[in-house]
């Protein structure tokens, strides 16, 4: 063990679609340490969600082929037997999904949905599991947790439901928490509460967190490190400060340029005052030959752009964690 909670190496996901094979994730490598929050950002369709669903084997096996390595606490999730993987879901890694309106079963009580998760991973009596469930609901800030246990999801608001989903994800004290757009469907004040909640729980338990989002505002608030995904690849990663303040990849700059309140002004003139990243992400069934971002890139400053995918290389020489980007057009950050 290397002290990391999760080590992902060269993760690739290919989906069978009616329009041919789609390479949705193309060689993703990253690590998550204990107590660390790694934000994965990118547009819809960049492969963020698929890459984490693949880790826990939650993609339908009929259509998805997953290769690479994903070592969670010393065990490779991708070569695990199904029964072992089931045991890891929960205590190894908990997951919070995007839409709290649909991620709970509408016909079972909140308590039941918590209790079944707790009892799936230990010889716990019903009564004990129920007590634990009530404690968890209290912990995630649900008022009157005892009564909430007997409620059905439709009797709770969106924010309350997402707290329940978080309680379920945390019910087996996972080493890793994966939040897949966990706050996207919530309004801003509730979003802030949920973020505070997860940060607080993380500080208490030392959980590693993968936070998937397309909201750079959220990233700035919570992440230790950022991984920018585009076309199923990591195009840039580094510390929050490096990536958000000294973005090296034209795509990252584009994303930041689309957030006027957060972005640094584009000093070097490479990226003009950009309100959007023009165009749409490439279809995973039809990825461009060269750099994945080339067709939309405003720079295209290198002859290789069109023909060769740039490797993810370290840029700058700052202390601490490396700052890497996959682009031919790196300019030294000021």
């Amino acid at each position: 063990m290397s002290g990391q909670v999760l080590e992902v190496e060269d993760l690739r996901v290919r989906l069978r679609t009616p329009r041919g094979p789609a390479d949705v994730v193309n060689g993703l490598s990253y690590t998550v340490g204990p107590g660390e929050t790694v934000a994965v950002v990118g547009e819809s369709g960049s492969g963020k969600s698929v890459s984490v669903l693949a880790l826990l084997g939650l993609l339908p096996a009929r259509v998805a082929t997953v290769t690479g390595r994903a070592v969670l606490q010393g065990e490779d999730l991708l070569t695990m037997k199904p029964e072992r993987l089931r045991q890891v879901r929960g205590p190894g890694a908990g997951m919070v999904f995007q839409d709290p309106m649909t991620s709970l079963n509408p016909v079972l009580t909140v308590g039941r949905q918590l209790v079944e998760g707790i009892r799936a991973h230990g010889d716990v009596s019903k009564a004990a599991a129920r007590r634990r469930a009530a404690d968890l609901l209290g912990e995630v800030g649900l008022p009157d947790p005892e009564r909430a246990l007997d409620r059905y999801p439709h009797e709770l608001s969106g924010g309350m439901r997402q707290r329940v989903v978080i309680a379920i994800a945390l019910s087996n004290s996972p080493a890793l928490l994966i939040a897949d757009e966990a706050t996207t469907a919530l309004d801003v004040t509730v979003q802030a509460q949920i973020i505070d909640l997860i940060e607080g729980l993380q500080a208490d338990r030392g959980t590693g967190v993968i936070w998937i989002t397309h909201d750079l505002g959220v990233v700035a608030g919570i992440a230790d490190r950022v991984l920018v995904m585009y076309g199923g690849r990591c195009v840039e990663d580094g510390t929050v400060d490096d990536v958000l303040e000294r973005p090296a990849h034209p795509y990252t700059r584009g994303l930041l340029g689309a957030l006027p309140d957060l972005a640094q002004p584009a000093v070097d003139g490479v990226v003009p005052d950009l309100a959007t990243v023009p165009g749409t992400p490439p279809a995973p069934t039809d990825l461009p030959e060269g750099c994945v971002f080339w067709p939309r890139c405003p720079v295209r400053g290198d002859a290789r752009c069109e023909h060769e995918q740039p490797p993810l290389v370290q840029i700058g020489s700052g202390p601490g964690l490396p700052h890497r980007a996959a682009t031919w057009c790196t300019e030294e950050a000021p």
Binding site: L53, L56, L58, R86, Q87, V88, R89, G90, P91, G94, M95, F97, D99, T102, S103, L104, N105, P106, V107, L108, T109, Q113, E116, G117, A120, H121, Y152, H154, V165, I168, A169, S171, N172
Partner: protein, 291 residues
């Protein structure tokens, strides 16, 4: 409904009296059955008596309609319940398996079977069964009905084929519903949540897929049961099954208005009651509908 029954051409009195009768006996019977009165009066008279449980007397046999229906009811109930049982035994596993492996060989075979069950006429299936099992093989009697209280063995032997025919037809319809609702439940987000918390596959399937696919299943089963209870006329004729469908058909042929009206009233009641039961079941199954 009442008007429709009376609009059907044909004179019940004439039919009841046979070929040779005098004008006097004709008038007398007509008066006795109340058919000489205006239609509207006949209706209100009938409806009023029906409310107090008196459905009148059969023109043909002279028995009360209620006793005739009561006599036929056990046969119809037996066949309907047996058929729905056959239907569910076919539909739930078949629909579920096809939903679990969409577009697989099993799914395709199931689709063909259910398409076959929906499109093949039930009387044809009945005749083929009779030819094979009663004729060639001689394993089963070709028709008739024996109450279970008299001889359970004979009861089952005679029930088997008609229940299979109606069960296959209903089962084919239900299979389609089971397949689509299980497929829908499988794809829902909460199933992924259930998997992500590390529940055993069987538990995910029972409580997060099947449990949620139950609602459409209850609806379609209710509809099918109502249909079966209102008498599957053709199958009852093919298997000489003395049920309500047969009774209604005979009443139509004899223009036996009271019996026909009584039967239709009962069918309407069956639909109402089954719909009520289905609605009540909904509230038990789906907490979102409570209150």
């Amino acid at each position: 409904m009442f008007a429709l029954v009376h609009l059907v051409p044909g004179d019940p009195v004439r039919l009841a009296l046979g070929t040779r009768f005098s004008q006097e006996s004709y008038d007398a019977l007509r008066e006795r059955s109340g058919l000489d009165q205006p239609l509207l009066e006949q209706f209100f008279g009938w409806a009023g008596r029906a409310l107090s449980g008196d459905l009148g007397v059969s023109f043909r046999s002279g028995e009360t309609v209620t006793s005739q229906i009561a006599e036929r009811l056990p046969a119809t109930l037996t066949l309907a319940l047996a058929s729905i049982l056959v239907a569910l035994v076919i539909a739930i596993p078949l629909g579920t398996i096809s939903a679990l492996r969409p577009r697989s060989i099993i799914d395709r075979i199931a689709t063909v079977i259910s398409q076959f069950g929906i499109s093949v006429p039930d009387f044809w299936m009945g005749i083929v069964l009779i030819l094979v099992f009663a004729g060639t093989l001689g394993w089963l009697p070709s028709g008739g009905y024996v109450p279970i209280s008299e001889d359970p063995g004979a009861w089952l032997q005679r029930l088997l084929m008609p229940a299979l025919v109606t069960g296959v037809v209903s089962g084919s319809v239900i299979t389609r519903f089971v397949r689509s609702s299980v497929l829908e439940a499988l794809g829902s987000d909460h199933v992924r949540t259930a998997q992500a918390k590390g529940l055993p596959t069987r538990q995910v399937f029972t409580w997060h897929v099947l449990r949620n696919a139950l609602l459409p299943l209850v609806t379609v089963t209710g509809v099918q049961l109502a249909y079966l209870l209102s008498g599957v006329v053709v199958v009852e004729i093919v298997f000489s099954w003395p049920g309500l469908g047969q009774l209604a058909l005979q009443a139509v042929q004899a223009r036996d208005y009271p019996v026909l009206q009584g039967a239709i009233l009962l069918f309407a009641l069956v639909f109402l009651v089954i719909n009520l039961v289905v609605d009540l079941l909904y509230t038990a199954i789906d907490p979102r509908i409570r209150r």
